[in-house]
Symmetry: D2
Subunit: 333 residues, 4 copies
Amino acid sequence: MIAILKQGTTREQIRLLIEWLAKLDLDVHVSEGAEVTVLGLIGDTSRVDMDLLGSLEMVAAVKRVSEPFKQANRKFHPKDTVVQVGDVKIGGGHFAVMAGPCSVENEEQILSVAQAVKDAGAQILRGGAFKPRTSPYAFQGLGQEGIRLLLEAKRQTGLPIVTEIMSISTLEVFAEVDMIQVGARNMQNFDLLRELGKTKKPVLLKRGLANSLQELLMSAEYIMSEGNENVLLCERGIRTFETYTRNTLDLSAVPVLHELSHLPVIVDPSHATGSARLVPSMAVAATAAGADGLIVEVHNDPSHALCDGSQSLTPAQFSELGGKIRKIREAIV
Amino acid sequence: MIAILKQGTTREQIRLLIEWLAKLDLDVHVSEGAEVTVLGLIGDTSRVDMDLLGSLEMVAAVKRVSEPFKQANRKFHPKDTVVQVGDVKIGGGHFAVMAGPCSVENEEQILSVAQAVKDAGAQILRGGAFKPRTSPYAFQGLGQEGIRLLLEAKRQTGLPIVTEIMSISTLEVFAEVDMIQVGARNMQNFDLLRELGKTKKPVLLKRGLANSLQELLMSAEYIMSEGNENVLLCERGIRTFETYTRNTLDLSAVPVLHELSHLPVIVDPSHATGSARLVPSMAVAATAAGADGLIVEVHNDPSHALCDGSQSLTPAQFSELGGKIRKIREAIV
Amino acid sequence: MIAILKQGTTREQIRLLIEWLAKLDLDVHVSEGAEVTVLGLIGDTSRVDMDLLGSLEMVAAVKRVSEPFKQANRKFHPKDTVVQVGDVKIGGGHFAVMAGPCSVENEEQILSVAQAVKDAGAQILRGGAFKPRTSPYAFQGLGQEGIRLLLEAKRQTGLPIVTEIMSISTLEVFAEVDMIQVGARNMQNFDLLRELGKTKKPVLLKRGLANSLQELLMSAEYIMSEGNENVLLCERGIRTFETYTRNTLDLSAVPVLHELSHLPVIVDPSHATGSARLVPSMAVAATAAGADGLIVEVHNDPSHALCDGSQSLTPAQFSELGGKIRKIREAIV
Amino acid sequence: MIAILKQGTTREQIRLLIEWLAKLDLDVHVSEGAEVTVLGLIGDTSRVDMDLLGSLEMVAAVKRVSEPFKQANRKFHPKDTVVQVGDVKIGGGHFAVMAGPCSVENEEQILSVAQAVKDAGAQILRGGAFKPRTSPYAFQGLGQEGIRLLLEAKRQTGLPIVTEIMSISTLEVFAEVDMIQVGARNMQNFDLLRELGKTKKPVLLKRGLANSLQELLMSAEYIMSEGNENVLLCERGIRTFETYTRNTLDLSAVPVLHELSHLPVIVDPSHATGSARLVPSMAVAATAAGADGLIVEVHNDPSHALCDGSQSLTPAQFSELGGKIRKIREAIV
């Protein structure tokens, strides 16, 4: 870490600063230039509060030279991590599509969608049981019963399942779930991340609506620092001024995350765009950008006129998309 | 709630949509115009998923006519809510300043800052015990011991205390805390909000970095819908492209929240700007805009050269600010 | 256009509003519902100031049912527009790659890059002569001399050229330029757009850093409303909170613009990401998303160690990218 | 300027980089630390393209130590600039309120509003003659005739006038205008800025919707570098994800701009919020934050029911606001 000091900083101030940094077990290499003095901080700088350091009157700027994440860092783990979810491998050349309804509604629905997405080529079944909803008055999901239904669908189709957790207190309900999703709103629910780090379960960690890629990696680090290396990073759109799409899908996240980290990168085009019409083109674009997998909403009742055009694809649309994705995968290898 | 249907929507599609809405206990008033058909949804529309409705192929736009929040809504509670924190009243003409260090570090520190901010005019002591940190390797706060020290400072100074909760599992540690803070990162940790709604404790609810004012009010609604009406809304800066300040303080939130809700509105200029130099002008601006209170960082060691210029004010600067705030309060009444 | 009136609006207020709208040659269809009154505005609503209408006290919301752009609108021109730039066709199934250096520096440079990008498969040569620079002290481009050099490169390679205009006053200097670029900063320089509308030259219109897709289409409409239909829309990244990339490339712009408009859509991955390492994956992703073309920076001196890693590709990297793009094109057809 | 090189950069690469920097007339001070090598660039670094330098493969980060603006920089001009507009002084303790209608509509309107805002305490009359409109089909203002009417209002009331320019080609029409406004969309229309720099007229430079404060200062620098020091900076809201207000008024811009620059800072609460209800609280907040002036929309026809609630205040509301502003001014001195 580098701290650039303002012109006019006195030797006494520098001495005090070095003394303070020494308490954090850091050595300091001082370089006095014609215009500025630069401090090189040597040691474990991940403990340094950059915001605090940068806010000191004498400090013009602070710059990390090494990233603050370690276990998620490709520098220290050059090889791609391959996460195993049931029998399905993701990352390191293994590509997986997760599909299913937004919410689990009832047994008939989840069983029929599960079969439909399996037939259309999905490797993992997704479905919401605990639903984070902006309004306390909205449907909050079937909860534990929803997970029971997902497990039933797993038994019937053989597809491993991924579903979202909202609170540590429900962790034991997820005992047989193959992969646990942490939603965008909980990306910095650090206590939840730590608890998931104590399990060995694969965690699908979604990027928060206003979180930087570095913050996403730091949240992965929370999970990994507790011993769980099975983390998948998921780009699902960020909040911007544009209102035509629900969020703005940041596909440059795919090559950036691959550059910075060895963890698999998944893209969710359904939540990002909020419109089924846009899902196929964003799904193929994500694949072309090098994503290791996709998570796509497919709804339950393709015959039901009402649902056409929602953010969920019909099984037929999803099946057609699968064909394109395979061709793109071949094109970029 | 109004749904505007696209041109070319068939009667059969409209019939199916009305049928679906009827299942949500909504009556529908159909108005066919020359260019569009407009549906007026009558009944408890707070249960309707606007995103879903708006994503239907036949729907051009959905517009709420009534806000989705009820208990936080000024329409149904025209009078300002006054929240009592210890002996201190906030809202409805009562203005309060909360001050203290970013983190509780040790007994000497918290006791001396507590006395200093009391002497300088603060009515409530703030201080972090459980600290949400981006990095798992950073100092996470003193936790339970930090709360014990805050309570000791309360005993010695008589100031009520406010401190942040990060997880439901620690709720009992907050038994003697006067006001519980929900941080920006947990604004949509709905399980936590619900549990706090089951207490009667005042809750200082901070706006998330990328959350709209309506989402802030919906999170307040989560707390209130469980029976706790003692909610204070806190604007603390949002994430934008500007990098000179840490976040962008959205002061128009003050009149907007006052218009929409009866709850007190607090402003945190310290975290929003990230720089002590900007805190005083933003604190007086917030007061002039009509805020019901401020929460300000004041650090522990005014004699310590290192800390000058951080986001925390010295007790002397804080005391001077107090004088200005009182003059502004008189000017706007 | 629909205006939803607030509850409690009096008949007299409605009468006044209808009177005012009548002055804009609009008929009004009034629909009084149980909760709200909805006005349907019939006629040429493109002249209505939505902001003004929406800001009236009595109006709860205003919603356009028809888009405010006409000539750029796919509804009225269902067939894809094909723009011809020299011998090169773009749009309607024709895909083109434009490449070249950020700035024209000297004759040797532009001639060598032009030949290199031609050899590597580019169909159009790009290069900056008039450069919009944040600082008045930075290099502002070679200006007219730069355009002379581009024309020389065109003569030697046969590649048509595209270069940016900054001011109407230089329009005649662009007489032999094949396609004129309007940069992001000038996307709403309406006087410039109108003048370009009076020519028949293809215009590459870049999206502003903070402009919505609808605003981009309205700016295209400025050009088209003066009689020039040869407009290409260019997504080049928007400004968000993320700092790892220079801007956030919004690839969902590609399907959205194709849905709303018949104009070709070009993507600029170089300026969006600011890093050559990210250009190839974003270029193939843009192609997979359905873009009609790409504009890519390729630098002049592949042997020069200094430039490696800047936002420009080397000719070799660009040539390799060309092969991938062709495979992606085949995969998505 | 500091460039931090990545670990593993070779001596040969460093030599090449220093050679390249030498061509820009920069001396380089090399400091090799244990982990990184830091280059200190000495000389006129305002010509260095930071983006380009930072994008080089070997460069980990670039940091300006000195700001890239000079004439606008408080470091080199510690004393506040006072701009004189007609008889009115702005800056350096002089506070001015500019008021008037959004657009000049006709003689009767502008004369009556001019008299009304004068009676209510405004010192400068504002009014749009050339209007930048998103749609080519919307009313584009009265143009030259609008300026003639403003000058007539000036003659009758004695108020100096400020109005917006959109194109260099109309500059001579502004000969008798007291202050020229550059709108948000033209903040980086560099050719226009340069031409205005060749006049001596006060220029009210509005911040672009997505422009940083540093970019605003760089645009001021464009004007000043041509010899015109009469520049006023205007904060008018930035584009964010929040949709309740039209834009997000960034009031921290006031102290930040005062810290960085000696130029007066004006705030426009009308365009920022888009709602007359929010204008008074934001106007007093801006005053409390230390703004040197306000520009406020006041409409023409207070008796006309239609306009109530638009973004414009009535003369009565504006007059009441004036009283509050005076009290705030007294409170903060």
